[in-house]
Point group: C2
Chain length 239, copies 2
C-alpha cells in the first residue's frame, strides 16, 4: 500500500503514571484511517526534554507525518514546544502572530496576559500555527511534525484542522466476519486465505461471550474488488 | 528516584487501525505504580517482524523491564514469539513443557491439538514460561522482556503473575489538589513551588466543568514527608 504513513507521540507523565487514560491515539487512528493515512506507530514518553527530542527525531525520520499531543500549556511542565525546537535545531521565540491571538483573547476576557500565558506564544522558527477553535492557544506544524494540545476536545479540533491541509490516500477499507469458533480452529484455513491475498492485511481477534470462544476475522486493504473477493472466500469457509 | 523502570510494547495492527482501544497500557501503568516500578515509555507497533524486533531491542537496552502485549495466539498474524527470539538471536522451538500444558488442556476439552494450536507452544530458548490461568497458552519471560497475551483479562492475569517475581521499589506516592482556577493563573506560583522541590515531580492538568476552567495540580514522589511538606505549601497557595 502506498498510502501516506504517520506516527503518534503522546507526551505525558499523567498517562505513564496511570492517572489518565490516553484517548487521543484512538481518536487519531480513526481520523487518519478515514483520510487514507496509515498510523504505523504510537509512543508515549515522559515530560522530559531528552525523551521528547529522541522520539520526535526518530519518528519524523521514519514516517511521513508525526502528530504529538500534550505539553503546550502555560505551566512549567509544558515543555513540548522547546523540545521540538531543540529537535529541529531551530530558535524559539514569543512569536508576534501567536502573541496577538492570545493578547486579543485575554483582553476580551478581561484577564491578565501574564508571563505564564505568554509561554503559550512560544513557537519554533519556521512553524505554521494550528488553529485552536476551543481555547485559542495555538498548536503548530514544523516540517512534518504537528504539535497539538493534550486535552481531548482541543486535540480533536486541531487534528480536524491539520488533516484538511494534508494529502490523504486511497481509503483504507475494512471488513470483518464474526465466527463462533475459537482461533485454533480457524487458524489453518485463514492463514491459507491470507497467503492467497498478500496485498491485503488479515487479522484474527479472539473473544469470549457467555463462556464460549469466538473470533473476529478482519480483512483490510485499499482495493474494493480484492476485499470483496477475499470476503466471499472467507464467508464460504466460515459463514 | 532510584525505582526500577519499565516500558510497555503493544503489538497490534488492531490498535493502530482504530478498530480496538488499547486498555493494557493503562492497566500496566497502575499495576507497576502500585509496585514502585516507573513506567517510562509505551509504544504501539504493527504486526511486522522488523518493527517488533527494533522496538524490543531499543526498549530492553534502555529500561529495566519490558512488558509486551499481543501476538501470541495460534493464527498467522501472531508473530511475537518468533520476533522476540530473533531480537535476542536465539532459537525458537515447540518446547516440551509448553506442549505438555497445551496437550493436557485440549485433551480435557476433547479438542484436536492441531498445528495452529501447537504454534502457541513455540518458546524462545532460555525463556521462562508465564502462567496463563485463563486459557492455558503461556506467555514467557526472556531476559528482561515479559511477553504476554493481548486479550485484556489474560494480560492482566499474566501481569499479576510476573510482578510477583520482580523486585519493586519504594511506593510511588501521588497527591493532588483540585483548583477552580485556570492553568494560566496558577502557573507562576506552581513553578516556584516545583523549583523548591526538585526531588518531586509536579504536573498540572486543566479541565473545564460547566464552562469554567479548573486545574488539577498533582505532586508525585517517594518520600512521604517531602510530599506532605509540598502539599502544605500547595494548599496555602491555592487551597
Amino acid at each position: 500500500m502506498s498510502n501516506p504513513t504517520a506516527a503518534m507521540l503522546v507526551i505525558g507523565d499523567e498517562i505513564l503514571s496511570g492517572r489518565t487514560r490516553d484517548s487521543n491515539t484512538h481518536h487519531l487512528a480513526g481520523a487518519l484511517n478515514a483520510r487514507g493515512i496509515r498510523l504505523m506507530e504510537a509512543r508515549v514518553v515522559a515530560d522530559e526534554p531528552e525523551a521528547i527530542i529522541q522520539a520526535v527525531n526518530a519518528l519524523r525520520a521514519e514516517w511521513d507525518h508525526v502528530f504529538t499531543s500534550g505539553g503546550i500549556g502555560p505551566t512549567h511542565d509544558d515543555i513540548t514546544a522547546e523540545a521540538i525546537a531543540a529537535a529541529f535545531g531551530v530558535a524559539i521565540t514569543h512569536r508576534a502572530d501567536a502573541m496577538a491571538l492570545l493578547q486579543a483573547h485575554y483582553d476580551r476576557a478581561g484577564v491578565e496576559f501574564n508571563a505564564a500565558r505568554q509561554r503559550m506564544a512560544r513557537i519554533p522558527d519556521g512553524a505554521v500555527l494550528i488553529d485552536n477553535p476551543v481555547s485559542v492557544a495555538p498548536g503548530f506544524s514544523l516540517g512534518n511534525v504537528h504539535v497539538m494540545a493534550g486535552v481531548p476536545n482541543i486535540f480533536e479540533a486541531m487534528v480536524a484542522g491539520v488533516l484538511q491541509g494534508i494529502a490523504g490516500g486511497a481509503p483504507l477499507l475494512s471488513q470483518s466476519l464474526r465466527v463462533n469458533r475459537g482461533e485454533g480452529e480457524v487458524a489453518g484455513p485463514f492463514a491459507d486465505l491470507a497467503a492467497d491475498f498478500p496485498d491485503l492485511s488479515m487479522g484474527s481477534y479472539p473473544f469470549t461471550q457467555n463462556g464460549a470462544f469466538g473470533t473476529n476475522l478482519v480483512i483490510r486493504g485499499t482495493d474494493p474488488a480484492r476485499l470483496s473477493a477475499a470476503m466471499l472466500r472467507l464467508q464460504a469457509l466460515f459463514g
